[in-house]
Every structure is written in structure tokens, then in C-alpha cells.
């Protein structure tokens, strides 16, 4: 028994490291006195340990997939890849929070602690193999997220964001739990492995119970990935929360939710035709609506953060298509998309954050004439916007291409056309910002301060993959292609 547990732990080193990191951070934060020096030390420590977790994660990529902790958790290449992306995204937002003025300086170490906590929840969610783990993952993720949203506690927008988040979160978690309990009632198990077998010959009333309760259950996950019609919280939360938190929210919880969605889809809905059809129809409609609502609403925004929030809803719509095809090619495309999306998000939010620190607002106006004030950052921003819009030679195009690819492989031409129209809409609002940056007249000629050498280096480092994954994407695509979902 003990030996078995140690065997499991060899798969679980990254998570254990994160838990140790979080607890030591908590102790360190309380124990060490000196305010500024402490912060630097805590940040360095957190980043180093998070960087180190990447090593066992990459080692896990090479191992055979396994169910550990008596089928509670699955470690397979798919979840491991997503965890790698989440860890990198968390590191990126922690680096951003260090220099951001949007987070009160006495709360910065708290941000790092909470971020690691959410990351742990995300990792748990990504490899959950039964309903209990899944629900615990969702809740760990959510409860810490509510706190993060209110980090800017002196401002009413942040408090509003937190309250909205918690109300929506509580409601959808309840709905999801309701759905889960009915599925348990119908199938008599919470283990995904057993469910996979049991749904195969499901029919009659039980089938209907499972179909209806899976829709309820979907609500819980859709809320986490901010899919239509559970997306309403996300713009307010994104705008109200401090920018590093927004960056973090648009990467870690979103990817965790998508991973859980992929796993659930593969387990439940790939083994019974009636179930598959209803689920795919649901996902296609949700994906189409999510894209359309996100992109159309993004057009009218004047706050860049809010625009990016809506645009990320649009991107989630495309990513859900990667789930809806219910095959390996689909979630491989999803992983590639996630990698690219992470880098693009980090780039745009970094630059927005620094401008926000300087001017105190994230309105489009602060970008006006950026090309004259800070050419390098302006070009990086425009490049990233074009990439988000899916224009070659940037990586966003390849990501979009891979999604089109899998959708058309399944011959879902209708949704492909919807996605195409959405791509055009998204180009419009990204260009609107690019236009302000490049064609706008700067009010003053003064150069933008705040882009220190280090920050510029970090931003360019995030931009390099955005550019190069659009041209030399074979290696990463092959890596994403090695992703496998282990069911039994």
C-alpha cells in the first residue's frame, strides 16, 4: 500500500512541488519582515520552483499514461502538456505582477500565493478522473479565483468583479453538481473509467437522464471557460480585476476548464451514438454562439482590457470546436492553439499593463501613436494583434488553420463558415486597435517610460514564439500531436 502510494507520487511530483511551494510561500510571507527585499526573494523563489516543476512535467511526457491514486487522477500526455502551458502562463503573469502597479505592493506576494493555488486547482482539474476530483478541482480553482478578482480591494469595480464572479460561480457549480449527482444516480459510479463502459449500452429513460444531466453538468465547465451563455461574468471580471490577474484568468482557469471538457467529452460521449450526437450538437451550437457573441461584442469596446476579454471569448469558441470534433486531431489542435494563445495573451496584456500603469487607464487612447513613442513595443503589439486576428506569418494563423482543419475534416462546413465570418469580425476590432497604434497622432512626443530593459526583454521573449510558431511550427505541432488521452 505504502509502496503503491510512493509509486503514484513519482507521477505526481509537479503537483506536490506546487503544494509545497504554496505552503512555504504562505509561511515565508508571514514570517519575513522586510517589505521590499522580501518581495523580491519571494518572487524569485516562486519563479524558480515553478520553473523546476517543468522538469518533472517534461519527464512525465515520456512516461506511459497511468491512473494514479486508485483511479482518482489520470496522468497522460494530454494533461501533462496542458499543465506545462498552465505553469508557463502562471509564471508569465507572476513576472508581470512584479512590475505592475495595478496590484497594491503589499499584496504582491499574496498574488503569487493565490496564483500557485489556482494553478494547483487547475492541474487537478486537468487530470481529474472522477467526478469528485473534478469537482474539488473546480472549487479549488474557483474559490481562490474569487479572491484574486478582488485584489484591488479599494476599488468598487474590483469588488463588483469579485461578487459577480462568486455569484455566477456558485450558481453554476450548483447546477453542475446537480447534473453530476443525476449521472451518478443513473450510472451508479463516479469513476470515468467505469462510466466509459457503462454509457456504451445506455438506452431508454436512463439515456435521457444522462443527456439532460450532462447539459447541466456542461454549465459548470462552460462557466469556467466562459462559453456562451455563461460568459457574462468574464468581461466585468476581466475589467475589474488587476491586469496581472486578468492575464492569469485568461490562461490558467480557461485551459483547465477546456481540458476537463475534453476529458469528459472523450469519456462520456465517444462511446454511445445518441449521447455523442446530442453532445456534439450542443458543443457546436455553443461554440458558434460563443464566437459570435464574443466577437460582435468586442467591436464596440473602448477599454482594451474589455476588448481582450471579449476577444478571448471568441477564441474560446474556436477552441471548443477542437473539443466538438471528439477525436485526437481535435485536441491536438486545441493544444497548439493553447500554446499560441498563451504567448499572444501574455504579449498583449504585458503591453497593456505597462501603458495602464503609466496613464492610469486602459482606454484605446493610451495606445494612440504608440509607434512614435515606443516603436519596438508598438510593433510587437501590432504583430500580436495581427496574430490574434489570424494573419500569416504569425502563429495565430496556424492555430486558426489547425482548427479549420479539424472542423472540415469532420465535414462540419456550416460551422466552418460561421468561424470564417467570425474571423473577419475579429480582424475588424483588432485592426481598430492597430490603427490607433500606427496611424494615430501622439498627443505628446514624450517616450513611454515604464518599459524598462528587463520588461522589454520579457515582452520580446514572449513575442518570438508568436512570430516563429507561424513559420516553423512543425516541431511544436508534432509535440502537440503526441498528446494522448488515457481512458482505460
Amino acid at each position: 500500500m505504502i509502496q503503491q502510494l510512493f509509486g503514484f507520487l513519482s507521477y505526481y511530483i509537479p503537483e506536490v512541488m506546487c503544494v509545497v511551494l504554496m505552503t512555504t510561500l504562505l509561511v515565508a510571507e508571514a514570517a519575513v519582515k522586510d517589505e521590499h527585499g522580501k518581495r523580491t526573494k519571494i518572487y524569485t523563489y516562486a519563479l524558480v520552483v515553478l520553473g523546476l516543476t517543468l522538469i518533472p512535467l517534461f519527464q512525465n511526457l515520456g512516461k506511459a499514461p497511468a491512473h494514479i491514486f486508485f483511479n482518482a487522477v489520470t496522468i497522460d500526455t494530454f494533461s501533462t502538456l496542458i499543465k506545462i502551458i498552465m505553469v508557463m502562463g502562471a509564471m508569465g503573469s507572476i513576472i508581470l505582477s512584479f512590475s505592475s502597479k495595478d496590484i497594491y505592493s503589499n499584496l504582491k506576494s499574496e498574488f503569487a500565493i493565490l496564483a500557485v493555488g489556482v494553478l494547483i486547482g487547475g492541474m487537478l482539474l486537468a487530470s481529474a478522473n472522477n467526478f469528485i476530483t473534478l469537482y474539488v478541482g473546480i472549487e479549488t480553482l474557483s474559490i481562490l479565483s474569487y479572491v484574486m478578482a478582488t485584489l484591488k480591494r479599494d476599488e468598487s469595480t474590483s469588488a463588483e468583479a469579485g461578487l459577480k464572479y462568486i455569484l455566477y460561480g456558485g450558481l453554476t457549480a450548483g447546477i453542475a453538481l446537480f447534473g453530476m449527482s443525476h449521472i451518478y444516480g443513473a450510472l451508479g459510479t463516479v469513476q470515468f473509467t467505469e462510466i466509459y463502459d457503462k454509457v456504451a449500452d445506455l438506452e431508454g429513460t436512463k439515456l435521457w437522464i444522462v443527456i439532460v444531466s450532462s447539459v447541466f453538468f456542461f454549465g459548470g465547465l462552460a462557466y469556467k471557460v466562459s462559453a456562451f451563455p455563461f460568459h457574462m461574468w468574464s468581461p466585468d471580471v476581466y475589467q475589474g480585476a488587476p491586469i496581472p490577474v486578468t492575464t492569469f484568468f485568461s490562461i490558467v482557469p480557461k485551459l483547465a476548464g477546456l481540458t476537463a471538457l475534453v476529458r469528459v467529452s472523450m469519456v462520456f460521449f465517444n462511446n454511445n451514438e445518441a449521447l455523442t450526437n446530442s453532445w456534439v450538437a450542443l458543443l457546436l451550437v455553443v461554440a458558434g454562439m460563443t464566437m459570435t457573441v464574443g466577437n460582435v461584442t468586442a467591436i464596440g469596446q473602448n477599454s482594451v482590457k474589455r476588448m481582450l476579454a471579449f476577444s478571448s471569448i471568441g477564441h474560446v469558441g474556436l477552441m471548443i470546436l477542437g473539443v466538438a470534433v471528439l477525436n485526437e486531431a481535435g485536441f491536438r489542435a486545441l493544444i497548439f492553439y493553447s500554446i499560441v494563445y498563451m504567448f499572444m495573451t501574455l504579449c498583449t496584456f504585458y503591453i497593456t499593463s505597462h501603458l495602464n500603469d503609466m496613464y492610469g487607464t486602459d482606454n484605446y487612447d493610451v495606445f494612440r501613436g504608440l509607434i512614435y513613442k515606443h516603436p519596438v513595443m508598438a510593433l510587437v503589439m501590432v504583430g500580436t494583434l495581427l496574430s490574434l486576428a489570424g494573419i500569416p506569418p504569425f502563429s495565430g494563423f496556424v492555430a486558426k488553420f489547425s482548427i479549420f482543419n479539424i472542423v472540415i475534416e469532420k465535414k462540419y462546413y456550416g460551422i466552418a463558415v460561421v468561424a470564417a465570418v467570425n474571423a473577419v469580425i475579429s480582424v475588424y476590432y483588432y485592426l481598430r486597435l492597430a490603427k490607433v497604434i500606427i496611424f494615430g497622432k501622439a498627443d505628446g512626443a514624450e517616450a513611454v517610460t515604464g518599459f524598462g530593459r528587463l520588461n522589454q526583454g520579457v515582452i520580446v521573449a514572449f513575442f518570438i514564439p508568436v512570430l516563429f510558431l507561424g513559420i516553423f511550427w512543425e516541431k511544436i505541432f508534432t509535440l502537440a500531436g503526441s498528446a494522448l488521452i488515457f481512458i482505460r
Partner: protein, 505 residues
């Protein structure tokens, strides 16, 4: 000789890098570097022409390097007779545009870097034989165009730049759906992104389901491709972006836009939409011809109504590209030959018109034939600017299609071609020629004849640089008007193969 396409394709990029590393303050060095780069490209394309074997319709100077093996995407270049002409036109026009852009003094470095990048992407579109590569170049081209129009354009440049970008992107995203659908229709094999392997009507019997309706694969994706290319040409009713883009763009960019970028649309029909979906193309050829006809007539009427001379030429481009659409929709040897020739000739003659308008704009800082207050913007230019007038007459008559100049040959061939297929359309299209003569001559009368407008008193005539870059175009227009065989011979085999393919359906 095999790597020469690589050199032509990447030479502008080398030039762009050279421009970028030159210090910002040395504006003349930057201009010289850009000129040198385009000159080398022009020389290379002449060498290409001299080595071109016009007896075969096969792709020549082929380069094929695997790019993304997972999807069988290759870096696959090659040219045939049709692209040979376009290559030469592109190299020539960019050389001339670099010279004509000598007077640009706003962010010189960025301007020439973007211009050179644009040249490379246009070459890429014409050379690419891999569908993915084609699409990448087709889209990347939007980036330099967006900035060139948006930064160096006229008062309303931002609107024009965004409109241009969105319109083209709208068309091309549907093309992307078509490209991916073709990839799966051919079974993801090693040739799934190979444009040449798709040609020949392999998809006649395939059926797809869209929102529950059964539609022929060939017809559906023919229209997807059609949308992408028709917006680029532009064919009525997709032409509304063109006047804005042309009027707002700086002179050199207008020249490039009318001279080569519009040809990418018709080239797409000839290389992709027609040969890959031949039976749909044949089935809808009447509709395409009618759209071409509307472009001809409607474009001409719109041109006649313009008070802005640049807008007038922009609408005349719609009209002239309508003739190209008529020629290719005929699917006869003369028709397609005429269309390809018209692509080249329109490139040279419209380039002349836009360059001359740019030259006069530098002197007058307005482009009104009739100002909004009703007075004439120009007048009596022929007495004040004799050299300018001479060149203008050559360009104008060439685009009008006067016998002896290049436009005549191509339009005559197009009419010969379509008469065999669509008699009524031919008869109506001839009115387009008449209208063309009317709006051009009317414009000429108001600008060049009559009493000398006091504002035009101190305009200077063409200087040596301007004469230097107008001469090659004059030679092209006159020479190919009298002796078009160097052009016709080059494309004969390739056009013949296309017509033969279409005749089977």
C-alpha cells in the same frame, strides 16, 4: 538556373533588410538601396525571361522543399507562361515605383522597407504552387498594403486601409475553408496542397452537406474561391473597396495596386478556380461573363461621373478588369490569350495614368477635374506642360484601346474570344469601349485644353527622373501595341493547356 525563382522571391527581402539596417537619417542611401534591390530583381526577371522555354506548358524553374511534413506542405515554386508575364510586370513596376517614390519624405525607411516586402509577397503569390504557401503570401501581402495606405495615404487613409484589409480578408478566409476542404477531398496525400495536382476536375461527383442541405462539392467551393478572387479583381458587386483604396493610397501604391495586385485576382481564376473546378466554371461562365459585363459598363459610367481624376482612373480599372473577366469567362483560346494580355497591358497603361496623376498632384496638391465649387481644377495643361501632355496622351490612348497601342490588341482578342460564346454580351461590351473613350477624352479636354488655369501657370514640366521612369512604360505600351508576339508566344502553351482542359467539361 533552378534557384533563380528563390533569388527573385527573396531579393526584395534582402533589400528590405538592407534598408532596415541603414541609419534613418541617410534617406538618400535608403532610396538608393531600395532602387538597387528592385533593379537587381528586374535584371533577374529579364534573365528569367531569356531562359524561359515557351514551347511547354509545364512548370519551369521548379523549387520544391518540404516545409511542414505533417501536412505535406511544401515550399513549392514554379512559373509558367502566364506567371512569366506577371513576374516581369511586377519587377518592372516596382522598379519604376521606387523611382517615383523619390519624393516621399515621411518615414522614408519604413516606406521603402514595406514597399520591398510587398514586392516579395506579390512574387510569392505568383510563384507559389503549394496552396498553403499561396494562401500565406496572399494574406501576408495585406500587412504591407495596410500600412502603406494607412500611413502614407490621403486624408481618409485609415478608413480606406481598413476597408481594403477587411474586404480582402473576407474573401480569402472563405478561400481558406476551400483550401482545407480540398486537402481532405484529396485524401491528405502527399499532393494534397499541390495546386497542380488538384487541377483537372477531380471533384465533379463529390457532394457535401451544409446545414443539412446536399450541395455539390465542386459548386460550393468554386463559389468560395470565386469570392476570394472576385473581391481582389474586383468584379461588380465586390468593387466598392477599390475607389477608396486607390484614391487614398500614395501614388506608388496605387500603381502597384492597379498594376499587379488586381491581377492576382484574375490569376487566381486562371490558376486555381477554373482548372480545379472546371465543370462549375463552365456551368457558371455566363454568370461570370454577365458580372464582367456589368463591371465594364458600370465601371465606365462611374468613371464618367467622377470629378476626382484619380477616382476616375480607379473606376476605369474596374471597367478594364471587367474586360479581363469577359475574356476568361469565354474560355476560348483568343479570349484567354486576350485576357492575359490585357492583364499585362492594363498593368502598364494604368500604371502610366496613376504615375502621371501622381506627378501632377505633386505640383497642384489636388486632383480635381472640377473642384467642388464648380470651377475647373486644371485647364490648358497642354500648352504649359508639353512633355507631360505627350506622355499622358500615350497612356490615355493605350488604356482607351486605340489601334497601334497595347490596349487595342488585348481588347480585340477578348472580343474575338467572347463573340464565339456570348454574342449579345459582346455587343453590349463594345459600348464599354465607347464609354471608355468618352470619359477619358472628356477628362482630357477639361484638364489639358481650354484657357490656361492661372493656378497652373508655374507648374514645371517632367524632370529627368520622371522622364526616365516613364520611358520604359511608353516603350511597353507602344512596342506591344505593334508587336505583341513576345508576350503572346510566352503564354501560348500555358493558355492552350487551360483552354483544352476547360473544353472537356
Amino acid at each position: 538556373m533552378n534557384g533563380i525563382l528563390n533569388w527573385i522571391l527573396w531579393m526584395p527581402i534582402i533589400g528590405m533588410i538592407a534598408v532596415l539596417v541603414t541609419p534613418k537619417a541617410k534617406e538618400n542611401v535608403i532610396r538608393m538601396v531600395a532602387l538597387a534591390s528592385t533593379a537587381v530583381t528586374l535584371i533577374l526577371s529579364v534573365i528569367l525571361y531569356l531562359n524561359f522555354d515557351s514551347s511547354t506548358a509545364d512548370m519551369q524553374f521548379v523549387v520544391k522543399i518540404p516545409w511542414i511534413e505533417h501536412f505535406h506542405i511544401n515550399y513549392f515554386l514554379g512559373i509558367d507562361g502566364i506567371t512569366m508575364l506577371m513576374t516581369f510586370l511586377n519587377a518592372l513596376l516596382f522598379f519604376i515605383c521606387t523611382l517615383s517614390s523619390w519624393t516621399v519624405d515621411k518615414s522614408v525607411k519604413a516606406y521603402f522597407a514595406l514597399l520591398l516586402m510587398l514586392q516579395s509577397t506579390v512574387f510569392g503569390v505568383f510563384f507559389a504552387l503549394d496552396f498553403f504557401l499561396f494562401y500565406v503570401y496572399w494574406e501576408v501581402m495585406l500587412i504591407p498594403m495596410f500600412f502603406l495606405i494607412g500611413i502614407w495615404g490621403g486624408e481618409n487613409r485609415e478608413y480606406a486601409a481598413v476597408k481594403f484589409f477587411l474586404y480582402t480578408f473576407f474573401g480569402s478566409i472563405f478561400m481558406l475553408v476551400g483550401i482545407v476542404a480540398l486537402y481532405y477531398a484529396t485524401g491528405k496525400g502527399p499532393d494534397s496542397f499541390n495546386i497542380l495536382a488538384h487541377q483537372g476536375g477531380h471533384f465533379v461527383n463529390e457532394v457535401v452537406r451544409v446545414f443539412g442541405f446536399e450541395i455539390s462539392f465542386e459548386k460550393l467551393f468554386f463559389w468560395f474561391m470565386f469570392l476570394g478572387f472576385a473581391i481582389k479583381v474586383p468584379v461588380f458587386p465586390f468593387h466598392t473597396w477599390l475607389p477608396h483604396a486607390h484614391v487614398q493610397a500614395p501614388t506608388a501604391v496605387s500603381v502597384i495596386l492597379a498594376g499587379v495586385l488586381l491581377k492576382m485576382g484574375t490569376y487566381g481564376f486562371l490558376r486555381i478556380a477554373f482548372p480545379i473546378f472546371p465543370s462549375a466554371a463552365v456551368e457558371y461562365s455566363t454568370l461570370i461573363a454577365v458580372l464582367g459585363l456589368i463591371s465594364v459598363i458600370y465601371g465606365a459610367f462611374c468613371a464618367m461621373a467622377q470629378d476626382d481624376v484619380k477616382k476616375l482612373i480607379a473606376y476605369s480599372s474596374v471597367s478594364h478588369m471587367g474586360f479581363v473577366m469577359l475574356g476568361i469567362s469565354a474560355m476560348t483560346t483568343q479570349g484567354v490569350n486576350g485576357a492575359v494580355l490585357q492583364m499585362f497591358n492594363h498593368g502598364t497603361s494604368t500604371a502610366m495614368m496613376f504615375l502621371l496623376i501622381g506627378i501632377i498632384y505633386e505640383r497642384s496638391h489636388h486632383r480635381w477635374i472640377v473642384k467642388p465649387d464648380g470651377s475647373l481644377g486644371y485647364g490648358g495643361l497642354s500648352t504649359k506642360l508639353p512633355k507631360f501632355t505627350t506622355v499622358f496622351i500615350i497612356g490615355m490612348f493605350a488604356s482607351m484601346g486605340l489601334p497601334g497601342l497595347s490596349g487595342f490588341i488585348s481588347e480585340a482578342l477578348i472580343f474575338l474570344g467572347i463573340y464565339q460564346k456570348f454574342t449579345t454580351i459582346t455587343v453590349i461590351a463594345v459600348i464599354g469601349l465607347l464609354l471608355g473613350a468618352a470619359y477619358l477624352l472628356w477628362m482630357f479636354k477639361r484638364m489639358f485644353f481650354g484657357p490656361v488655369n492661372p493656378e497652373c501657370e508655374n507648374y514645371t514640366d517632367l524632370n529627368a527622373r520622371e522622364i526616365f521612369y516613364m520611358v520604359p512604360l511608353c516603350i511597353c505600351v507602344i512596342l506591344f501595341g505593334i508587336y505583341p508576339s513576345p508576350l503572346l508566344n510566352v503564354m501560348k502553351a500555358s493558355v492552350g493547356q487551360l483552354v483544352e482542359l476547360l473544353a472537356k467539361f
